[in-house]
Amino acid sequence: MSVLVRRSFPLGIAAIVGILMILELFQVGKEITSSAAMVRDWVVIISGFALCLGAVHVTGFHVNQIRKRTAGRWPFSIVLLAVMFSYIAVGVSLTTMSGTYRWLYDAINFPLAQVMFSLLAFYIFSAAVRAFQARNFEAVAFLLCAILVVIGNIPSMPLISSALAQIGPWILDVPTKGAFRGLLITAALGIIVLGIRTLLGRETAYLGRA
């Protein structure tokens, strides 16, 4: 009984919902389409709960840090919780469209996301310096193509040598496209087979073991 409820029920739910989504594509009937739309609504609602679960989890972790007075960490945890609860207070009482909420978002979330993306520019350089060394033939292929594309992306390049400027775009347009297409097709086969196995109840990673 317990195995039936703990394992078979979830497996059944996943299979039914998955098949429902596929059937919707083939437009088998109005009932299917409307129930698929409803299930997607449900998923939005459940993901809403999941987002709240995330906030609870973050709170739990940092309350723990504060309680244990983890060295060098706990004062920051207080800041974190304070910021989080002020967002929730403003967002729930004044809504996200309010000026105060927008102020918070534009002062904190927006610039911080932007600067984290900027860090990528630094990292892409330091990673390149290590990776682009001509250790063997494979590394040469990798490095040469990358450099040719970089050269092609220099804005003044067409004025210096239009031939050199055209190699980079060619690499991106021809061999890269071809190789990535092959990669995508095989990965897709992997995805589809994994999906079919899930619908058949053979892929049980999401159920733990018992």
């Binding site: 083939f26 723990n64 996301a113 999906g195 733990g208």
Partner: protein
């Protein structure tokens, strides 16, 4: 009522469905055995955990940001999580500290359950601690900033990033390099991130390899058989492409002849 545009989808799904069933049947009743070639990236996982154990420093695992289980990239997260169950068993066995970070919280209960069950299976249930699985943030870049911090503060010795990866991949991988972690990365369809994994990580699982990993690790005959099904499908697609090319080549020829 089959719309013409979905014609191909239908037959492709049907074809793979039949192939999968057939391969499972062959294993079950005919005892077919499938051999899968060596995959260096997956073998490296144990090596990395071994190193972390020697150094007594933590192992980090993530399935990446942005994607959600209920979205189209859900299967790639599942593939990553099936590798997590192996990693967690290893860290349980060797008593290596484990940190799993989660971006979208819908993955959180699943990751937690997988780690918990792996510890249970190894008889180390008492060593499972809830803070092994941490949800840092749903926002991609906030998550990345958190992972950066964890890497430097806790001196991570092995880093695994397997799943649908987004731009933050390089932030995490470069920080991993900075703390001297051995890294294995892998992603299915996110081709934009693959170059960075290849450049920074010690081993990379490319494209379909992340789906093969589960079968390769478990050596479960049935899972291995589905690998066989996938390979047959690959040959079929290659044949289809070749035939398609020949047909279009000659139809073009025919067309130009007709015009003459």
């Amino acid at each position: 009522m089959l719309k013409v545009g979905n014609f191909g989808t239908f037959y492709l799904l049907l074809f793979l469905f039949v192939l999968t069933l057939l391969s499972i049947w062959l294993v079950r009743s005919k005892g077919m055995k499938v051999h899968v070639r060596r995959l260096a990236g997956i073998d490296a996982i144990n090596e990395a955990i071994g190193r972390a154990t020697e150094l007594a420093r933590p192992v980090h695992f993530t399935t990446g940001t942005m994607a959600t289980l209920y979205g189209e990239e859900g299967p790639q997260i599942l593939a990553g999580l099936s590798i997590l169950s192996h990693i967690a068993s290893q860290t349980a066995k060797y008593r290596t500290p484990l940190v799993v970070t989660v971006c979208h919280p819908s993955t959180l209960p699943l990751a937690e359950e997988i780690v918990r069950e792996s510890y249970l299976k190894e008889g180390r249930a008492d060593e499972f601690r809830p803070d092994m699985v941490r949800h840092l943030s749903t926002e991609q870049q906030a998550y990345a900033s958190g992972v950066q911090g964890i890497f430097l503060r806790e001196k991570v010795a092995a880093n695994f990033m397997i799943g649908p990866l987004y731009a933050d991949t390089l932030i995490i991988a470069e920080t991993g390099y900075r703390v001297g972690a051995m890294q294995v990365g892998g992603t299915g369809t996110k081709t934009v991130q693959l170059p960075f994994l290849v450049a920074v990580c010690d081993y990379t699982l490319i494209g379909e390899e992340i789906f093969a990993a589960g079968a390769y690790i478990s050596q479960n005959p049935e899972q291995l058989a589905t690998m066989f099904a996938e390979d047959i499908a690959k040959f079929a697609v290659i044949a289809l492409v070749l035939i398609g090319a020949i047909v279009t080549l000659f139809s073009k020829e025919l067309l130009s002849l007709l015009k003459l």
